[in-house]
């Protein structure tokens, strides 16, 4: 009897069947009218079929593995919650890093979900569309799993209660919000360069690998699980980022200068955004895995360095900020924490000064800068606080027009001088914190003049609740702004020591040890 062997399709063929030939040339309407957004940026594409997806995940496999990830994640979260896992974290100070996470990162995940859905519609190539569609679903999953994982903390700790409202209003949250809005309002190719390449491939390892490993080290299995579960999708997203870059560069030589400009811009914007992660690593983990500087060297200088060596064959060079970042890795975590410490009355989380052992750790990790520039300040503030004179800045800071971070970064060649850059445009002055942010502004000023800078908005009277009268006698502007933010003063802000969080944690931990 003749046996007819039915050859199983290989992975590449299976994937091709899913992503090729599903699209068509439109006839009722011109293609340019159906896909109006994928040309104005100047990127030239000649053959969309040259698009190569490195991960060839079919829909069937996608659902199967994502479902498995979800089952694992919720099993761990349930166990963590049922066992009061939050009492097993090293110290409740750590939980303040999660408050930053849910207010700053989680809303960005949702924005990313919307943006990938939008961009997935705009490419005329089916391969890119499928990749964006899967990523849009992933981003929604990250948003949901982060909320579910952190909702248990919200039952016990302050500051988690209104993350979405805060994201649109609170001064430091305008940094991630404006970063996302800048990316999501760009054209589809710039968007993929910004988020898929510069953010996901070049930078997210710094948040989701060493910081999340640090969360595990501090006993937080909830954050570890959502963090690593999200990052398992990121591995796929990173390959989309690398593919879009290669695809643009292989399609037409005219694309090179545009791509290089986007890489320079978005690497810099991402690095500014990561300032807060630097501070979370160095100041907010009671037990530390590695310093920010060490993470930077491993995941940026070494890994990203290898990537750019590879891209050199297309004529791409390392991002323009490369030399400056090698200097800033020594400073940025200290400068950021010092800023939050002095504006701790206006933050939605608690701040503190490092203890003696922590100062010594920082001195050891930053031998060239910490003792010289940062330790004296922190020790002086500790002395003052001990005398009942805890230092709070009462005047609002000057912000960078582009990254919207207070202008606390120093000159690349002199860590004792604040870096000031400015541009005159249409009769107004615009200030930026760095050459990187100034270049971004100067390239597209009409976009950045629109920045909703929290300090300027407060001074215009736009950050008070309806009905509040700023001219009334005894008006307290800080109190009015905190009301508008939904930050409860005396509960969500100020020092960790003496906070409700600190007291509750101590009492609960005690009752976890015995019956009284």
């Amino acid at each position: 009897m003749d046996m007819k062997v039915k050859q199983k399709l290989g992975l590449k063929e299976r994937y091709a069947l899913m992503t090729r030939g599903l699209d068509w040339q439109t006839t009722y309407q011109p293609m340019d009218a159906v896909f109006p957004y994928d040309k104005f940026e100047g990127i030239k594409i000649h053959d969309w079929d040259k698009w190569e997806d490195p991960f060839r995940l079919t829909m069937e496999a996608y659902w199967k593995y994502q479902a498995e990830k979800e089952r694992k994640l919720y099993a761990i979260i349930d166990a963590f919650n049922q066992n009061n896992g939050h009492l097993g974290v090293t110290d409740a100070r750590y939980i303040n890093a999660l408050k930053i996470f849910i207010t700053a990162v989680t809303p960005l995940e949702y924005m990313a979900h919307r943006a990938y859905s939008h961009v997935g519609r705009q490419f005329r190539g089916a391969g890119a569309r499928v990749a964006c569609q899967m990523q849009a679903i992933d981003e929604l999953r990250h948003f949901q799993t982060q909320i579910h994982s952190m909702s248990n903390y919200n039952k016990h700790y302050n500051g988690f209660h209104d993350y979405r409202h805060m994201n649109d209003r609170v001064w430091y949250l305008s940094v991630p919000k404006s970063f996302g809005e800048d990316a999501f309002t760009a054209g589809p190719f710039e968007f993929l360069t910004s988020i898929s390449f510069s953010f996901e491939y070049v930078l997210t390892n710094l948040l989701f690998v060493p910081f999340i490993s640090g969360a595990a080290y501090n006993g937080d299995m909830a954050a570890t699980t959502f963090g690593f579960s999200a990052q398992s999708d990121e591995a796929r997203h990173m390959t989309l980022g690398l593919e879009i870059i290669k695809f643009m560069l292989e399609q037409d030589p005219d694309n090179l200068p545009i791509v290089q400009r986007w890489i320079d811009k978005w690497t810099w914007r991402g690095i500014r955004l990561l300032s807060i992660v630097a501070m979370m690593m160095d100041y907010m983990l009671p037990k530390r895995v590695m310093s920010w500087k060490e993470s930077w060297e491993l995941y940026f200088e070494e890994s990203v360095g290898a990537l750019f060596k590879d891209l050199a064959r297309y004529g791409i060079t390392v991002p323009a900020c490369w030399a400056q970042t090698k200097i800033e890795k020594e400073h940025v975590s200290h400068q950021t924490w010092a800023t939050f410490y002095q504006y701790g009355a206006a933050a939605g989380f608690h701040t503190w000064l490092p203890g003696k052992e922590e100062l010594d750790w920082l001195s050891e990790k930053y031998p060239d800068t910490f003792d010289q520039y940062y330790r004296p300040r922190l020790e002086y503030w500790a002395e003052q606080a001990a005398e009942g004179k805890r230092f709070y800045s009462k005047t609002l800071p000057m912000l960078c027009q582009v990254c919207q971070i207070p202008m606390f970064f120093t000159e690349p060649d002199d860590p004792t001088k604040i870096c000031y850059r400015e541009t005159d445009y249409n009769g107004d002055k615009y200030h930026t914190c760095s050459d990187g942010c100034k270049h971004v502004f100067d390239n597209e000023p009409e976009k950045y003049v629109q920045a909703w800078l929290p300090v300027q908005q407060i001074y215009q009277g736009n950050c008070f609740n309806p009905g509040v009268d700023p001219t009334a006698e005894g008006f307290d502007p800080l109190a009015a702004v905190l009301d508008y933010y939904h930050i409860v003063s005396g509960r969500d802000n100020l020092d960790f020591d003496g906070s409700e969080d600190q007291k509750n944690f101590d009492v609960w931990r005690q009752t976890a040890k015995n019956n009284t």
Partner: protein
């Protein structure tokens, strides 16, 4: 290129001077004192006397620093947009040529912050 978009547009300037109810913004930084995280932003009426900024406003902002009581304004060096500049304390901000969102800094020679750390 000022606009990269599907069609040209004019961005809305959200912090133009008309929005500040008669005030204009002035940014002020104290050199060599990184104790204060960043330069500060102030809304001032353009007719305000420059000396009043030094005497009435800045002490509330910088007074907590141990160097503040040692500041000698006769020795202070001023910079506007990074260039040397000499203000007249008895003239108004407008008469001193200060416009909306100008940035000025002052350096107080000999004062270098906590234990000489420039903080």
């Amino acid at each position: 290129m000022t606009v990269i978009a599907i069609k040209p547009y004019v961005g809305e300037v959200r912090d133009r001077v008309e929005n500040f109810h008669g005030n204009q913004l002035l940014f002020i930084g104290w050199e060599d004192h990184l104790f204060f995280a960043s330069p500060y932003a102030f809304p001032f009426p353009p007719a305000m006397r420059f000396g009043d900024v030094l005497e009435q406003v800045l002490p509330g902002t910088y007074g907590v620093h141990p160097d503040w009581s040692k500041v000698d304004w006769d020795q202070a060096q001023w910079f506007k947009s990074g260039q040397p500049w000499v203000p007249d304390v008895n003239k108004s901000l407008a008469e001193n040529g200060l416009k909306h969102k100008d940035v000025i800094r002052f350096r107080t020679p000999g004062l270098t912050g906590i234990k000489g750390s420039f903080s």
